[in-house]
């Protein structure tokens, strides 16, 4: 045995524990080839299960990887000690190596009997019995003090009240204490003075903001869609819901149920549906020309990955392409999870304008709602009146020439706005100024029409790329009735292509407008604001006639409902299936180049290749069925109007003045309603499809390589999915909070602990799997996890128990010995300390300078930002010019592709995916931010002005120091700052132009006498110096 290993063997503890000592080595160094991923298991050996490790090696006859207690017979031992590159393990190819200590651990473990134990995180936590008295005191302290005394350590004394209140205020609200709050606390001699502060801060409306700031990282909340185009989107109602829920102390189980499945709850409220935006916060791609399915798949994966990262702390996403290499999550398990999140009708390429990707929830303001309700009521009344219209004057009319004329017309004439017969031109017979234009691609012209034999005379022929654009003809809103008739000859071999449409570039704008589209042997009729879920979609059930002339008519009544949108084939309504019936915003672009009716093709989409079209008719009213029969030439007008019912119906719907007046009113009301919804805020939410979408294992994780079909389920090795749960997101949410689920509660408690103590009990808060770290205080974690669940998932109560602990309240100062022994403070023999987060650094400066705008919620804001950053992304940054600019940092706009540089320099996350643990870096760019960013200069300026009003310089410096750091400066510190002030003042007096930048920062204007400027500037420098110092930047 090599010397090093022998030496390490001597140093090992007597008890070698599988979970603590052995598995981390096996997982990190062996599982990649001998772990749960069946496809990658080399030599038929897996070491994650004892059955695998102890059985005969299939490729080495008579040998065993591990024979418990027998080093000589254990092949592993020989291999890890070997120097022979072809024999040793891990193989040199893996670039992995075992240290001497690791080898020693494996050897000793085998020697001791190679006992396997289940992974700690997959065994349900047990609440250890602890003495009743300690529960009253504080269970956290019970566990920590036991751990400390076993290491011969003690708690450090309590932090001074200044430090304590600053720590507590930041931890519970993200804001520093004000001078008054500090004073009050310092002078409060009541025995429960600290608890009073804790309760005050837990009840503060800023508590929810602090928790939200953390949750938004996990929820990958952002104000832009991400990917290249990265346009701005507004998801702030979700963010505000998080804040309010935290403030109301919504139980954590309910909090996650709503987010995962609020829409599936019985009678979901508006808030429940808002919460589901959690699943839609992922990035969405606007890039034209992307493959639809590829990105639809990405979105579902993001949801599944977020679910795993956020709630299970398992890197489920690793099983996208293959079985998880370290944890018991097979690739199939992954796609079973995936299938829970798959049943949303959504676009892969989202609309190129700013329409919210569907499905969405309309969120009218109270005022908007009142207006909408009012109009809706009037619509109802008018519809009622229309039903009961008593026509007048029919007798007179029927005696006139009206009925005779009707019998003579070859096509209905009333309401006919366009007729194209394609005999030799593209001209509208009703208006010869309107001439269709042939176009290709994005609207390029120059193509020559081909007129071939048609249904009557000539018809227009199509090659699939070139289309005929009638420009402004056919522009209708969803409130306006219309009808479009067309004769078509569909070639037999055409699989798919558009016949006519009013839209722009196929899916580029998510089919905004309407269309009739040939898909396999069916016709799809769609009218959309933004497909697929803000639209009406109907599909014919039976095959479409080919290679002969067929008359198609689309009629629409202006109701925004599927039943009002009808397709007729040769005069008859075919059987159709409605696949979407929720159109709640308008179907036009509101642009100067509003596209009109186009036939035969569209940019970037499949066209009517080899097809012909004849006699296009456009009406500004809904044709009656007998009129459709007429234009389809299934009946003559002579015949049709022999029927007195038709004559009467025609009279009512086309002539009767009362009917027409009401019809007109109805259209106007519907238009008004549409106008009122148009500006209404929309939020992306979840909406489950009626029929679940088929899900498959995707081979190599690729959207176009489906394997075995899968159904919703959870990884059985973690905790099986109960058979009585619904197989949908609601069932999944309930599975998550089942008392037997080993992970959810631990993961939540650990994350909350991390956010108070700076580091989790499990440091890898994002990974509780085999590659994650073991809990440093396992019994404490389990006690807290069980207790959290048993006490109704009460978050405020949990946080209170943490901050009330002696452990939390300790002074954070460490002796050099303790620093050496425990640099990261895992043992907690001292209080927590850490650098302020990005949000806190800015908020602290805003509070200290009293610039802060404490308004909670609302739209995200645009703080000072260097010019030109968004331009590379072809956008323009519009900085706020109102008090919004002083809102708290959690409201700073998050544009994924170009993050706010102040925030990202201080490690705010990019929000591209779920993250539960931020980096904590210390870089020169951070120095430049606090030194030169106008946010901090303006705060310094404001503090300088305030300081200048105080007569005693020392007092003013003290005050500024307390505002920024929460404590009074020591004498030495005051002296340094007093001296600095002197030097700066002298400098500014001598050269007043040096003060310019200090006094002009930010948008707040100051009015200073020339003579006072140097003094104020010198104080601003002092304030900025304190702002940059460790006492400000670090929370101790």
């Amino acid at each position: 045995m090599p010397k090093g290993v022998a030496l390490e063997l001597k140093n090992l503890p007597n008890e070698i524990d599988f979970n603590i000592h052995v598995k981390p080595i096996l997982s990190d160094k062996c599982f990649a080839c001998h772990g749960p991923d069946k496809a990658k298991q080399k030599a038929g050996l897996r070491l994650d299960l004892p059955e695998g490790a102890f059985s005969r090696l299939p490729e080495s006859p008579g040998k065993f990887a591990i024979v418990p207690g027998n080093l000589g017979k254990s092949e592993i031992v020989k291999r890890i000690l070997s120097d022979d590159p072809s024999y040793k393990m891990p193989s040199p190819k893996s670039h992995l190596e075992l240290s001497a200590r690791e080898k020693a651990i494996l050897i000793k473990w085998i020697q001791n009997g190679a006992e396997y134990k289940p992974h700690w995180a997959f065994v349900a936590p047990i609440k250890k019995e602890i003495p009743a008295s300690t529960i009253e005191n504080n269970p956290i302290d019970y566990f920590i003090s036991n751990a400390l005394s076993s290491k011969k350590l003690n708690f450090t004394g309590s932090a001074s009240r200044n430090f304590l209140l600053r720590r507590l205020s930041f931890d519970l609200t993200g804001l520093p204490p004000t001078v008054d709050e500090i004073e009050f606390f310092k002078n409060d001699s009541r025995p429960n003075a600290y608890e009073i502060q804790v309760d005050r801060l837990l009840a503060s409306p800023h508590f929810g903001e602090k928790l939200a700031a953390e949750w938004l990282d996990l929820a990958r909340f952002a104000d832009s869609h991400g990917y290249t185009i990265d346009r701005i989107r507004d998801m702030s109602p979700y963010r505000d819901w998080v804040i309010q829920s935290c403030n109301k102390n919504m139980p954590y189980n309910q909090f996650i149920h709503w987010q995962l499945a609020g829409d599936l709850m019985p009678n979901p409220t508006k808030d429940m549906r808002i919460a589901t935006a959690f699943n839609r916060n992922h990035q969405q791609n606007t890039e034209g020309g992307i493959v639809e399915e590829e990105f639809q798949t990405e979105y579902v994966m993001d949801r599944a990955n977020t679910f795993g990262d956020a709630f299970l702390a398992l890197t489920t996403g690793c099983a996208r392409c293959h079985d998880h290499k370290y944890d018991p999550i097979s690739q199939k398990n992954y796609y079973q999870l995936f299938s829970f999140f798959n049943n949303v009708k959504e676009a892969g390429q989202i609309s190129y304008n700013d329409d919210m990707p569907t499905p969405t929830l309309l969120l009218p303001t109270d005022k908007q709602q009142a207006i909408m309700d009012f109009i809706q009521a009037k619509i109802k009344t008018t519809e009622g009146k229309l039903q009961q219209v008593k026509p007048s004057g029919f007798d007179d009319w029927s005696k006139g020439e009206g009925p005779t004329l009707l019998k003579k017309q070859s096509i209905p004439q009333h309401g006919l706005v366009a007729h194209y017969d394609f005999e030799s031109t593209l001209t509208n017979l009703k208006n010869d100024k309107e001439i269709g234009v042939l176009k290709h691609e994005s609207g390029k012209t120059g193509d020559v029409p081909q007129f071939l034999v048609g249904h009557s005379g000539k018809a227009l022929a199509f090659d699939g790329d070139v289309y005929c654009d009638f420009n402004r003809v056919g522009v209708f809103r969803k409130s306006e009735p219309f009808s479009i008739g067309i004769w078509v000859n569909i070639p037999k071999n055409l699989k798919e292509g558009v016949i006519f449409h009013k839209s722009n570039a196929e899916r580029l704008f998510n089919f905004k407008g309407f269309h009739v589209y040939l898909k396999n042997n069916s016709l799809e009729v769609m009218m959309a604001h933004s497909a697929p879920s803000n639209a009406i979609t109907k599909i014919t059930k039976n095959d479409i006639p080919r290679d002969r002339w067929v008359q198609l008519t689309l009629t629409y009544d202006g109701s925004s409902q599927a039943k009002g949108l009808k397709l007729y084939i040769d005069g008859t309504e075919p059987a159709m299936e409605t696949t979407m019936d929720q159109l709640y915003k308008d179907i036009i672009f509101y642009s100067k180049q509003e596209p009109g009716l186009q036939i035969g093709g569209w940019w970037r989409g499949l066209g009517f290749k080899g097809g012909r079209a004849d006699d296009v008719l456009v009406y500004n009213r809904e044709l009656r069925p007998y009129e459709v029969m007429l234009i389809a030439q299934k009946n003559s007008s002579e015949n049709i109007f022999k029927d007195p019912n038709h004559v009467f119906d025609y009279y009512v719907t086309n002539v009767d003045s009362m009917y027409l007046k009401l019809k007109n009113e109805l259209r106007n009301l519907r238009t008004a309603y549409s106008d009122s919804t148009e500006s209404t805020q929309e939020l992306m939410v979840m909406q489950e499809m009626a029929k679940p979408k088929k899900a498959n294992v995707l081979l190599r994780g690729q959207y176009d390589a489906p394997g075995e079909e899968v159904f919703p389920n959870t990884p059985e090795k973690i905790f099986p999915f109960a058979s009585n749960l619904p197989k949908n997101r609601l069932g999944l949410a309930m599975w998550l909070t089942d008392s037997r689920n080993p992970l959810t509660s631990r993961v939540a408690v650990n994350r909350i602990w991390q956010n108070l103590f700076g580091i989790g009990i499990v440091k890898t808060a994002e990974d509780f799997g085999n590659q994650g770290e073991m809990p440093f205080h396992p019994e404490l974690l389990d006690w807290l996890a069980v207790n959290f669940r048993e006490t109704g998932w009460d978050v405020k109560k949990l946080i209170k128990s943490m901050v009330m602990s002696k452990t939390y309240q300790q002074d954070s100062k460490a002796s050099p010995e303790l620093m050496e022994r425990d640099p990261e403070n895992r043992m907690l023999a001292r209080g927590p300390s850490s650098r302020l987060t990005a949000e806190m650094i800015r908020d602290n400066a805003l509070v200290a300078s009293e610039l802060i705008n404490r308004e909670i919620g609302g739209k995200s804001m645009y703080p000072y930002q260097p010019e030109g950053l968004w331009e590379i992304n072809s956008h323009k940054y519009k900085q706020d010019t109102t008090q919004a600019i002083y809102k708290r940092s959690l409201y700073v706009v998050v544009k994924r592709s170009v993050p706010n540089p102040m925030m990202s320099t201080f490690d705010a996350t990019s929000r591209s995916s779920c993250l539960v643990r931020r980096q904590k870096t210390n870089t020169p760019l951070q120095a430049l931010v606090v030194l030169n960013d106008p946010t901090f200069l303006e705060a310094s300026k404001q503090m300088g002005i305030r300081m200048s009003k105080q007569i005693d310089l020392n007092v003013s410096i003290k005050d500024a120091y307390v505002r920024l750091t929460g404590r009074e400066p020591q004498e030495g510190e005051i002296n340094i700052l007093v001296e600095l002030q002197k030097i700066e003042w002298a400098k500014f007096k001598k050269a007043p132009e040096k003060a310019k930048g200090w006094l002009s920062a930010g948008m707040s204007k100051i009015d200073l006498k020339e003579v006072d400027r140097p003094y104020v500037a010198s104080l601003a420098v002092v304030a900025n110096t304190i702002m940059n110092s460790d006492a400000t930047i670090t929370k101790r």
Binding site: G4, G289, T315, S897, S910, I976
Partner: protein, 493 residues
């Protein structure tokens, strides 16, 4: 840049136990500025079994085992996807096939973007521009790149590049980070992490974006993001505006001397505070403020081209006097490389020619050709080309068929991932042409080079085995090359 960050590998390491640690890590790492960057060195040291080996042994073992050829890289990223047909991949046979449909036997069912997938015909279009062979290597270069043609013998033109991605965002992200989804570190970040900085006054990874390019496809700063690596490794964008690095400028009127004075007091204040806390983070912060101050001087200094002789401006071309143009950025890149900045990346947008390619590509070439060649010549005459790697290329190539309507001299080309051209020059690169495509430049016939292979080769030239430059995040080891990539020996001199 700073090295004081939380090292997530070390602390994740199962063998790590605070109580066992007998090493003053910070001192140790500060003494090891050579070879692999200190951050990566920590990862390599991993096990901390110090009793077994001396510190010296460990350093020696962890030094690169490959002799580095390149000390620094300048990467001219041609964003949008330049057409290989009009630049480097000469396809004379296409002349006779003008307007013919792309044969199915060539396309072999390969997926197309949604922009041309639904086109009724896919008409073949030859390059409108002529090609000639240049230099001893007889390298084919189009007439659109006359300056590049003059340095043809320095170039290794790879005609057989390929990628998996067919749309801009995933393709650029893939090229810059080795993965198509956002969130991984950029090449420059990996190099900063792996090799550290040789200049204590400038960032190791600097990015510049041409202001004079057509912004047809957007760019975004996450392309030079650090991903899961510590943020000190992020690319720092140098801009032509008055604040060349974000927040570099002091408040108006307050000069460097004033700042220095203030920072001295800040240091005193921090030192006074640290008498209480004795926290290494405070010391680290003090040194970061010093670095920030040095950057305030060194960045404007390096960006000041006023002392460059006219002859240099003439070499880089007319745009080089206009700050922020590609030409000016090339000149600046040379200056940064002289200062031993590890990785300089220039982005030039505007190559996404779906439409009116013959006209638009002339503009692109005029904006970039002369300065690109000048950069190579300038590095060469300064003796720097031998240890500087120069890279030119976009995120994918373009199709042999015209996207949209074809006319005698108007056509567009859609995205094509299956083969395209890019080139490398300088340190350790073998000049000439590498790889072959079929007559349609649609498929690769010989010596394919995948994006991962390109990354592996690039790291190899820098003395790094791409399989060893790893970072552990969220329980798994990440590499720039994911689990793929091989060094392309044929590209090496």
């Amino acid at each position: 840049m700073g090295k004081h960050h939380e090292d997530n590998y070390r602390l994740n390491h199962p063998d790590f136990h605070p109580l066992d640690q007998g090493l003053d890590r910070r001192n140790f790492l500060q003494k090891t500025a050579m070879g692999l960057g200190a951050a990566a060195l920590q990862v390599l040291l991993g096990g901390h079994s110090l009793q077994a080996k001396s510190i010296q042994d460990q350093i020696l073992e962890s030094l690169p085992k490959i002799a580095p050829k390149a000390k620094r890289v300048v990467y001219l990223f041609m964003s949008g996807g330049p057409s290989q047909f009009e630049t480097f991949d000469y396809k004379p046979n296409l002349k006779n096939m003008f307007g013919e449909g792309l044969p199915d036997s060539v396309r072999k069912g390969q997926r197309l973007t949604g922009m041309s997938a639904n086109q009724a015909v896919l008409p073949i279009v030859p390059s409108l521009y002529n090609f000639k062979q240049y230099g001893q290597n007889r390298t084919w270069v189009s007439e659109l790149l006359p300056y590049t043609a003059q340095v043809a013998d320095e170039l290794c033109v790879i005609k057989s590049m390929y990628t998996e991605q067919i749309n801009h965002d995933p393709a650029i992200t893939f090229f810059q980070t080795g993965h198509q989804l956002p969130g991984r570190p950029s090449i420059g970040s990996w190099l900063s992490y792996g090799l550290g900085s040789e200049n204590q006054n400038l960032p190791a990874f600097i990015v510049m974006v041409s202001k004079n390019a057509s912004k047809d496809q957007p760019l975004y700063s996450r392309l030079w993001g650090n991903g899961f690596l510590p943020s000190e490794h992020q690319g720092v964008q140098f801009r032509s505006s008055k604040d060349p690095v974000l927040y570099l400028n002091n408040p108006e009127g307050y000069d460097g001397e004033d700042r220095r004075e203030m920072l001295e007091y800040l240091k005193k204040l921090n030192q006074a505070q640290n008498q209480t806390w004795a926290d290494p983070e405070v010391e680290a912060r003090i040194s970061q403020y010093e670095m920030a101050f040095r950057m305030q001087t060194s960045v404007p200094e390096v960006m000041d081209v006023s002392t460059e002789p006219d002859e240099v401006f003439d070499l880089y071309g007319p745009g080089s006097r206009d700050k922020g143009t590609f030409a000016a950025n090339c000149l600046l890149a040379r200056k940064l490389l002289e200062k031993d900045v590890r990785f300089v990346q220039l982005y030039h947008q505007g190559w996404d020619h779906h439409d009116a390619l013959p006209k638009n590509i002339i503009t692109q070439c005029k904006q970039t050709d002369q300065a690109t060649a000048a950069l190579i010549q300038d590095l060469k005459r300064r003796g720097m080309l031998e240890d500087t790697l120069v890279v030119w290329g976009g995120e994918f190539g373009r199709t042999v068929y015209s996207q949209g309507k074809l006319s005698a001299n108007g056509y567009g080309r859609d995205h094509h991932p299956k083969c395209f051209s890019m080139w490398m020059a300088g340190a350790g690169v073998k000049p000439g042409s590498y790889g072959e495509t079929d007559d349609f430049s649609y498929n690769i016939l010989k010596d394919p080079v995948h994006v991962h292979d390109f990354h592996a080769t690039m790291l190899h030239l820098l003395g790094i085995n791409h399989e060893e430059l790893i970072f552990k995040s969220q329980g798994r080891r990440f590499r720039l090359t994911d689990v793929h990539g091989k060094v392309v020996k044929g590209l090496l001199s």
